[in-house]
Every structure is written in structure tokens, then in C-alpha cells.
Amino acid sequence: METVQNLLMGFGVALLPENLLLAVIGSILGTMIGVLPGLGPAAGTAMLIPLTFHLGPTGAIIMLTALFYGTQYGGTITSVLLNVPGEAASAITCLDGYAMARQGRGGAALSVAAVGSFVGGIVATMALVVAAGPLTAVALQFGPVEFFSLILLGISLLMGLAGTSMIKALMMGIFGLLLAMVGIDPIRGQPRFTFGLTELLDGISFVPIIMGLFGMGEILANAEKPFSEIVLAKMSSLVPSRQEIRDSVAPILRGSLIGTALGLVPGITNSASSFLAYIAERKSSTHPERFGTGMIQGVAGPEAANNAHANGALIPLFTLGIPASPTIAVIMGAFLMHGLVPGPFLFKEHPAVVWGVIASFCVGNVILLILNLPLIGIWIQILKIPYGILSAIILAFMILGAYSVSNSTFDILIMMVFGVLGYLLRKLDFPLAPVVLTLILGPLMERSLRQSLEISQGSFLIFLKSPVAVVFLAAAALVLIMPMFRFFRRGKNVLSGEEPA
């Protein structure tokens, strides 16, 4: 009953005209970022954080989260019409979505994808509403020992599942933690790794780092080759046939459940959710051989799954304070910049903010469903803009975003340094997701470790005295050690990430 009351209070906040407008702006910007090639959700969200500085925390988070799930909708448009996924999670949609577009059924594919995304988003939001109470009650019992173990588990999961090479994922995770060490030590007040630069005393802001690693790195990688012209599939009626509607219902529901469940696990990407949903549809179909030729089930299931995943991944952030993906880590950074610490205390200390934001997920998904289909013509026009022009505009906005963080050109330099680094790391097949997660979680992780050790007067045995911490640490060790077993069973390729010849 209390949950329903809280949710209603949340709707009261989310439906305020100002917050409604911010959700609309976030949804539109998110869809645009999803449509634009070369600007992923992490860099796009980071780029727009400075624009939220003059907003209150509720409005800022509503806009950024709307932007986040807007990118999931936007990615579908390019998958269906261009055969180019705007987001990695929409890659699987290309198979049947583009095939449908070539048969003149692209409009129906986009409509079903939008409805699927909407249902997925709502199912995951309801899961968050239901899980919020019990999970936060458990999390409120956590002290620094349990919290450190939980963060370690979250980071281990992300690194363990980040890519094919465990060594590279671990290196990137540690690199992110080291970046988080720059600045004044929060406990002792001693400056660390500042090279004598006053600009680094407050640490390196995560915004230029993420824009550099993800946005700038991608633009530099794309600049290697001349840009090719894009060929759009023709648009058709947006109204699906009755048969298409009937065929989509079960896949949407299955995809929503798969996405919500997998979204809870840090490290599992929404590409994995959409891929699993696609496999589930193939398995349950009486005509699996027709997948890839324009089956609506191949669009409905994965699209519902990837949006459910995006919304479901917010559950660990809101209840435990653990981001499950790079973009959610960026949103967590935005929370921190606005003076809010995501996690169980947020429900206690700022119920209006947190329930307002949760209710805004429902509102945002409705906005996206209403706005996206009528605006499809605009997205198609944006897709027709040559990539050279788009890249230059994106670069200009990244400079603007980096500068606006602290009104300093130093942040533009930081962005550029990390842009070059992101480009090189990409070429060396390093996964970049662990850097973001550990960069954001690093200070919290170090603080909880040091607080734990101060309580025990330096004894690491404190981590073995808490059963919860033992379970978390054992799970983290299992995730990290598992590739070692595979290494001995199958050979060196598991650790190195090299595929067997």
C-alpha cells in the first residue's frame, strides 16, 4: 500500500509541467542520439549533463533517464531503415527489421518495435516498483564491509562479462579506479597524482573522460576511412496488419521478461538481452528457418527485451547504488553531481525525487510511444545528413559539453587526451565499459574499503566476519576465476581474447 502511495506521489512530481517538458526534451534528444551514428548513449548522456546544472536534481535526472531510454528507441530506426544499428542492442533487429523494410513493411516493423519497447519499459519499471521496498530494506542493513564487497561483485561481473579478454577487462577496470584516485584523498586530504596542477585537485571530471573515450574515440575511428553515402530503405505505412499484431504479442511479453531479468545483473549488456530474446523467439517458432527473412517476431521480442533491459538495469542503481552498465554509471555520476547518492538511503532521504524519477519512466515511455512514430519523418531527414557534417557538429557539441562542466578549457584537453586513448584502446580490442564503471564507483569503493579497515584496525579478516560480504566476495572471486578454469581446459585463448584458429 505504501508503495502505491509513493508511486502516486511520484506521478504527482513527474506530471508537473516542468518535469513533463524535461521528459519530452530528454526523450527527443535520446532518440536523436540513438539515431545518430557514432554517438553512443554513454557519451551522449555525459555530453548533456552540463545542460542540467541549472535544473533541480529531480528535473535533471528525469531528463537524463528519458534521454537514456530514448536512445534505445532511436537505435531501432537505423537498424530497420539502414541495416545499421544505432545502438549495439539493436543489432539483432537488423536481421528481420531490415528484411521487412526491403519488403515494404518497414513502417510496421518500427511500430511494433515502438510498442514492444514501450511494454518492455513499463514491465521493467513495474519490477523496479515492486523490488524497491524489499531490496532497499536489505541494503539498509549494509555497512562499509558489505558495501565494499557488493561493489567488488558488481565490478567483477561487469569485467567478467565485458568482452572476450578477461585480462584486458581487468586492466581497464583498474585503469578506471586509478583515474578515480586523481585529486585530493577524501579521507586524509592528501593530493594524489595531480602533477602539481590545481585543475586536478578536485579530480578529473568523468564527463570529459567519457565523452573522450566513447564519443571522440568513435569519431577518430570513423575518420580513418572516407564516409560512405547512406542508402535508406523506403518507408511504408506505420500500421501493422492484424496478423503482425497477433504474432507480436507473445514475443513482446517474453522479451520484456527476459530483458527485465537480465537487466538486474550488472555486466550483462542489453545486446545480450536482445540476442537471447531473438533466440527464444526462434526456438518457440514453428518456422525458425524463416527468421532473418522478415519475421515480425524477430523485431518484437528483441526490441521489448532491450528496452526492458535498459529500464531494468536501473533497479540495482536505485536500490543498491550499483550501476549495471556504462550509461547507468554516467547517470549515477549525474546523481552525484546533483548531490544525491543513489542507493537505499535515497528512498529514505529524498522520496519525492526518487519516486518522481521512477514515475517519470512510465511517463517517458508513453511520451516516446506517442512522439516517435509521428516524428519518424524527422529522424529519417536526420539520417540523410552526411556523416561528415554530423561528425563536425557532434565534435563542436562535445567541446561545448566538456567546457561547460567547470567553465574551463582544461576539460577540453582532458577530453582530447581520452579521445586519443579511447581510439587506441579500441584498436587494441580493450573493452571500455569497465573504465566508466570503476571511474564512477572508485571513490565509493576506496572509501568503504578504508572505512572497513579502520573499523578492524587494519585487519582484512573483517571481510570474513560478515556472511553477506563472504557471499559477495565468493561470487566475485568465482566470476574472476572462472576464465582461469576455462584457460586450463581449453587453452590460452580464453584469457587473451584471441579466437582459436
Binding site: 576511412k225 563536425a392 581510439y423 587473451s496
Partner: protein, 158 residues
Amino acid sequence: MRRIHQAAAACFMAFSAYIMWESLGLEYYTELGPGSGFFPFWLGAALGALALAWLVQASRLAGRPAEEAFLPARQGIVRILSLIAAVLISAGVMNTLGFQVTMFVFLVFTLMVLGKQPIWLTAVIALVGSVGVFHLFAGYLDVQLPASSLALLASLGL
């Protein structure tokens, strides 16, 4: 590619050595527990160990002649270096020339490097992206962007 991987692993090892060295200059342990240098020291050590493992693996892998070259073609390198230079120069001169002039020149340059559009379109995009964005951000979004510190440009409202 094997050489590149080896060199990159060596760079990571050098970086980890630097981190460990710097950490030793900080408080490692205090009466109350770990000091400022404790966490980074062990992170540096772990990074060094992982980089070493990567170096060993990279050295064991046989070279693959069919593998894509690490460096792009000459034109690609020129485009990449042009973009990097444009961003760095923009950061360097923004406080002197102001946002509007810097961004106008930056956009004209990058549009010429990356795109093949008519000059009038380049000029329109550059104007909107510089002067337009400046007034939009300052007037409506409350984000102050730098004005020129040169008297002449400042007198022109730039």
C-alpha cells in the same frame, strides 16, 4: 600487430611502475588504517602484473599476415591528426578569441576536413554552431561561454 601489442603492454607496465612509485611517496599505512597510497599502490601492482601477463601472451601469439594494419591509410592519418589539432588549438585559443570566433573557425575547418558540402552550407552551419549556440546557451540555458579577451573582438560582442 604483435609488436604493437607488446609495445602497448610495455607502456602499461611503465605506467603501473610510475603509479607504484608515486604511491610510495604518499602515506601507505597509518595508525587508523590504510593511507592515501595504499589503494593506488596495489592497483598499480595489479595493473603491472596484468600487463606482464598480456605481454607474455602477445609474445606467444603467432603473427597473422591477414590481420588489419594498426595504422590507417595516409589520408586517414591526416584526417585524424587534423581533428586532434583542431580540438587542441580550439582549447588553446578559446579564452583569447572567445567561443564564437573559435567555434566558427573550428567548424569551418572540421566541415572542410570531414565533409564535401557547398561553402554556403559550411558557413551557415559554422555561424549557427558558433554565434547561434553562444546566444542560445547564454540567453536560455544559463551556460556562460567565454567571450574574447581581445579588446577589438570584445567590442564587437564576440
